[in-house]
């Protein structure tokens, strides 16, 4: 069941991604689609379930498995991975090493303070720090892509430290091949 859910979620994400580059309505600018998102996303969607295999998927979604935890948090203006998150990253690295077909997007985020483009750079520095640790522990660089969203996709909406601490993060987002 979980497999299906993830597949559907990916399909929906794919559909939304497709939206951003296609379609138009009167009085609005038609946007050229210079890529192949739609087709490529379809492939991602249909293969996602199969490629993980039952065991892999169960591990990712089993709440008692460390692999179900896929977000780590950072201190203000820091890209240092906390000692307490090392075991979690080791588990993900081992999972990636054992499943070479699995790919993961390492997504860096920041809180809202400071300038937006600087935060993009800071988010990438966080994601790179996580990628290096995963690679050091056995994941292949080819399995990982790094993307930074800076402050553009906050996990929590507030404008105080309780929200900011949740937004300074790196998310591991597993995708099919």
């Amino acid at each position: 069941m979980n497999t299906v859910k993830l597949g559907l979620a990916l399909m929906f994400a794919g559909v939304l991604a497709g939206c951003s580059t296609t379609g138009s309505k009167p009085g609005e600018v038609a946007v050229e689609d210079r890529g192949t998102t739609a087709g490529a996303t379809e492939e991602v969607t249909t293969r996602a379930a199969g490629d993980y295999g039952e065991l892999g998927m169960q591990a990712l979604n089993d709440p008692s498995s460390p692999l179900s935890h896929r977000v780590i948090y950072f201190a203000f203006d820091s890209s240092e991975v906390a000692e307490q998150d090392r075991d979690l990253l080791a588990a993900h690295a081992a999972f990636l090493a054992a499943n070479p077909d699995v790919k993961v997007s390492v997504e860096g985020h920041t809180d809202e303070r400071g300038s937006r483009e600087y935060n993009i750079a800071l988010g990438e520095r966080r994601a790179q720090a996580v990628k290096r640790i995963l690679e050091f522990q056995g994941a292949s660089p080819a399995q990982m892509t790094v993307v930074s969203y800076g402050e553009e996709k906050p996990a929590a909406e507030g404008h105080d430290e309780s929200a900011w601490s949740l937004n300074r993060r790196v998310e591991l987002v597993y995708v099919g091949r």
Partner: protein, 433 residues
């Protein structure tokens, strides 16, 4: 064959057919000593077609928004002359009104009009300028702004920037989904148009020097790419899409190159991309973050943000590369620079004591002063005449735009009814005229 249907359905859901809401402007800090001026409602009698715009109202609002003028409220006008012969200068003089604008709007055909206006020096009792401007139903608002530009220039000696536009990003949140819109509006917030929508973030709009194109960052396909879009036609091209960061585009003054931030070589560095040849030239080399390049108006150097010294500060480097010189020393956060059009000042984001505010750095003297008093002020952008700086700030829990005069004395706020608005970019002077 299921997918195309799904895709279409989702697109319609995500794209409501409503026109975007206009920004509303509220003056939050006025200026003592703003010059009283009377803009008398224009004569609209003898018209076969009702003019679609209140031209005098647009001019008065423009002049008020500049912070330099205090237009007399319409209900307080002591007389409503529509011809020079009807003006009793003595009456206006006793009120202390130094300047007077009168005019009329006449139909010249179906959908076409002529605006005539005259600006008078009340104390000398003579005309300063007078023009007859042919216009159309759809151009009337724009031509009213051009008249404001002429009046402003005649009275202050500085070119007006009312017939300009602003680009900005709005974000609406519905449940867990966000919708990002790149919008363009007149400088007074009217006539907003969405030129791009996405479910993924849109960032960093930058006007080409001819005011016809916008460069921006889009995260469609879940990665950052830099696009250049023609504002009029909507045609766009993806120009940079390397692995990692493709960000912070800034047009060279000649419009042929973009300074950008790329992390293709391992960490964020500044590059110059030539649009015609598609060639890249690397400008910075450091293990630190280098980002947010802006061009000096003479095109000879770039100012950018770097944390190579341990905290984000502004540096200046020749376009040809070479050693970067640090410009900011006050506090431990100075970022996101914008050059004043004369190249003498930088507007920037200054972080101190947990607050991020807009400041102005005098490049000759090195003197720095704060212009704003917000908590999360960012993205400063100069008006093309250097008179005002537009920026993003927080009002309560929402993101709004604000503008401050470059002397810090006059402030206004531009906000939407709902949703966040951010990353304003003030267009260059319009060259359609």
């Amino acid at each position: 064959m299921k997918k195309p249907i799904l895709l279409l359905a989702a697109c319609f859901l995500a794209w409501p057919l409503l026109a975007p809401a206009a920004l509303t402007i509220e003056i939050t800090q006025g200026v003592e000593g703003a010059l009283p001026i009377a803009v008398v409602p224009f004569d609209e009698s003898n018209n076969a077609y009702q003019p679609p715009q209140d031209v005098a109202r647009i001019i008065a609002d423009d002049l008020r928004r500049s912070g330099r003028f205090a237009p007399v409220d319409e209900q307080n006008l002591i007389a409503r002359p529509v011809q020079a012969a009807q003006i009793r200068f003595k009456d206006w003089r006793t009120l202390g009104v130094g300047s007077l604008v009168i005019g009329r709007v006449e139909t010249t055909g179906e959908g076409s009009f002529r605006i005539q206006f005259q600006l008078f020096d009340v104390f000398r009792g003579r005309q300063l300028i007078g023009f007859s401007v042919p216009t159309t139903r759809t151009r009337m608002r724009y031509d009213a702004h051009r008249i404001s530009d002429l009046i402003y220039e005649k009275l202050t000696g500085q070119r007006g920037a009312f017939a300009t536009r602003i680009a900005y990003v709005t974000v609406e949140k519905k449940g867990k989904k966000r919708s990002y819109h790149l919008q363009v509006a007149d400088a007074d917030g009217y006539n907003p148009q969405t030129i791009l929508r996405s479910t993924q973030p849109l960032m960093s709009p930058a006007w080409s020097p001819d005011g016809q194109r916008l460069a921006y960052v889009s995260f469609e396909k879940r990665r950052a790419s830099i696009f250049v879009q023609d504002v009029g036609s909507g045609k766009r091209e993806r120009v940079l899409a390397f692995a990692g960061i493709n960000g912070a585009p800034a047009w060279s003054p000649d419009g042929r190159r973009l300074a950008v931030t790329l992390s293709r070589d391992g960490n964020p560095e500044i590059y110059i991309y030539t649009l015609a040849t598609r060639k890249l030239q690397r400008v910075t080399r450091s293990t630190a973050i280098d980002t947010e390049p802006v061009w000096s108006p003479d095109g000879a150097s770039l100012v950018f943000t770097s944390d190579r010294g341990g905290s984000p500060q502004l540096y200046r480097v020749p376009v040809s590369g070479g050693r970067a010189r640090r410009l900011t020393f006050e506090g431990n956060y100075n970022a996101s620079a914008d050059f004043s059009p004369d190249g003498k000042h930088l507007a920037l984001v200054h972080g101190a004591g947990g607050k991020y505010r807009i400041g102005l750095l005098d490049l000759d003297s090195g003197r720095f002063r704060l212009l704003t008093d917000g908590r999360l002020d960012e993205s400063p952008s100069f008006a093309p005449n250097g008179s005002m700086i537009i920026y993003a700030t927080a009002a309560g829990k929402r993101g709004v735009l604000a503008a401050v005069s470059s002397d810090g004395r006059f402030k206004q706020r531009l906000s939407l009814q709902t949703g966040d608005v951010r990353e304003p970019a003030w267009s260059p002077f319009d060259r359609r005229q």
